[in-house]
């Protein structure tokens, strides 16, 4: 149990430590090996010596010392090692904290190792299908298995892609920097996408026992803020930050005391983080004033409308359905279509929603989604067809991977079953 807790703690602090090690040693694979080695030492020593005051600093020091030892051993053989070693000798931990390595000339002003890490993961010289997986691996410490699941890919495929990408970064010398101002606009879309992916992985963890991994949400918001600092007049940067603030404001109310999932209508709205909502709304206003609409701003506007409703019944579904229509034009993905269908159903009645969901399912573009099936079940229930609802819940339950979501769907299924039973009793009587 203790080992498990230490492992979780290491994973949480890992991204921070790894980013720093990559900058220090200029080698991703070496940095990862050093971090793994530090994890092993933590497992060995923390149970005996107690938890260090600052686990991230402890891991950094242990990994760095091991790295320096390795370089010293290699220095006689490899001139490169001697060079890195000479740089390291002049740079202690405290100095590194106060004086981050200079960025390339003419570059933007924000200096942060994890921001550099995200830019290297999203480098256009890397294959598009490895950029996000690489970021989730290095920034969030997700395992290859979790990443494979999130992208519906085979684990070995994902692992191979990541290995190949890391080799290319080293062999082609892709730099560990925040790009120059002139290059930022063309690098932006991917970086925002990956930041939002990190957020979503935290907001609806694809695997495991917990539904919300707060540390991932917080990290994504932190990166969003750095992007805002970097590009304060970029509407979509503000839009994304607004979106994350507004969604995360509801995190606390999404989880019931027993760890179960609470959907929007079930949440205690007094538990929503009002300050976060205000900040999110202000950010969105700032973005909209720039008059350059985009998908993050539209999604933030949808989140803001949900936040505005004091009670679930007051939700402006008409407006939300219209916004989803606009979002579909920017982002014609099956998942957006699913949300648009649900919004239509809420605005114009369950039959309308069900028809759209059926069309989406029959198109085959969103296969094996438990969200689609549970949405169908909900609308069936609203129409009073609990048998059909029950069948859809059964199909959804067979697909869901997260334990909390599984429990939620089981509860909804039981409720539907009760309705079916009571109606058949009524018939029998």
């Amino acid at each position: 149990m203790l080992a498990k807790a230490i492992e979780q703690l290491c994973r949480r602090e890992g991204g921070k430590v790894l980013a720093g090690l990559i900058r220090r040693f200029g080698d991703i694979s070496l940095a990862e090996d050093l971090l793994q080695d530090a994890y092993r030492k933590a497992l060995e020593r923390w149970p005996r010596e107690g938890l260090p005051h600052n686990p991230a600093a402890w891991l950094t020091t242990v990994a760095r010392n091991e790295g320096l030892d390795q370089l010293r051993r290699n220095a006689a053989l490899l001139p490169d090692s001697a060079e890195v070693l000479a740089q390291q000798a002049a740079c202690t931990d405290e100095e590194a904290a106060q004086q981050p390595a200079p960025l390339i000339s003419g570059s933007a002003s924000v200096d942060d190792d994890r921001l550099r890490l995200i830019f290297i993961c999203c480098h256009p010289a890397l294959a598009p299908n490895v950029q996000a997986p690489l970021a989730l691996r290095m920034l969030c410490g997700l395992s290859t298995r979790e990443i494979a699941r999130a992208f519906c890919e085979a684990e070995t495929t994902v692992a191979q892609r990541i290995v190949r990408a890391k080799r290319k970064i080293a062999a082609a010398k892709i730099p560990f920097v925040v790009p120059q101002r002139t290059e930022l606009p063309q690098r932006l879309a991917l970086v925002l996408q990956v930041i939002y992916l990190v957020f979503n992985e935290g907001y609806g963890a694809t695997e495991g026992q917990r539904l919300v991994r707060t540390e991932l949400c917080a990290e994504a918001i932190r990166l969003g803020r750095l992007m805002e600092e970097l590009m304060p007049d970029e509407a979509e940067v503000l839009g994304l930050l607004a979106l994350m603030r507004l969604q995360h404001a509801r995190s606390g109310a999404r989880v019931a005391p027993d760890g179960g999932l609470l959907t929007l209508p079930e949440q205690d709205r007094s538990q929503w983080d009002r300050a976060a909502i205000e900040e999110g709304t202000a950010l969105l206003d700032r973005a909209l004033r720039l008059a350059r609409p985009g998908p993050y701003q539209i999604q933030a506007a949808i989140a803001a409308l949900h936040s505005k409703a004091q009670r679930a019944e007051e939700t402006d579904w008409e407006q939300i359905a219209a916004l989803y229509g606009a979002l579909l034009r920017h982002l014609p993905t099956p998942v957006v279509e699913l949300n648009a269908a649900v919004a239509q159903g809420m605005a114009h009645g369950p039959a309308e929603g069900l028809a759209r969901l059926r069309a989406l399912e029959e198109s085959g573009r969103l296969q094996s989604s438990h969200y689609l099936l549970s949405a169908k079940a909900e609308f069936h229930g609203r129409l009073g067809d609990f048998r059909a609802a029950l069948a859809e819940y059964d199909r959804a339950l067979a697909l869901v991977g997260n334990a909390v979501e599984h429990r939620y769907l089981s509860q909804r299924r039981m409720a539907a079953e009760r309705e079916v039973l009571s109606s058949s009793h009524a018939c029998g009587a």
Binding site: L78, P79, H123, A171, A172, K173, P175
Partner: protein
Amino acid sequence: MEYMILIYADEKIYSDMPQAEMAAMMEEYGRYTEELEAAGVLRGGSELAPVHTATTVRLRDGKVVSTDGPFAETKEQLGGYYLIDCANLDEALHWAAKVPSAKDGSIEVRPQITHS
């Protein structure tokens, strides 16, 4: 770190090009080369004669086999290269994008392996 900038383009574009346009492009290449030199990154480079002048050589069972033509037929052909010395890939890509043929061809950037 040294990078090879390989310039691929459809040779037909150039064989069909009016003379004035060709002269303008050569001038553009001249300016680009000067820029590389001024930045102190140029290590080498050359324009290559068209692929119909190519001969491909293979040693098979101890025997030299020469064939007419490039090693593979491709839609765009290798027409020249630069060898440049840069701090990292970003700098190399920056220079690659400025190669005049980047507008109508493809520029491949390959890091060199140094064996010490």
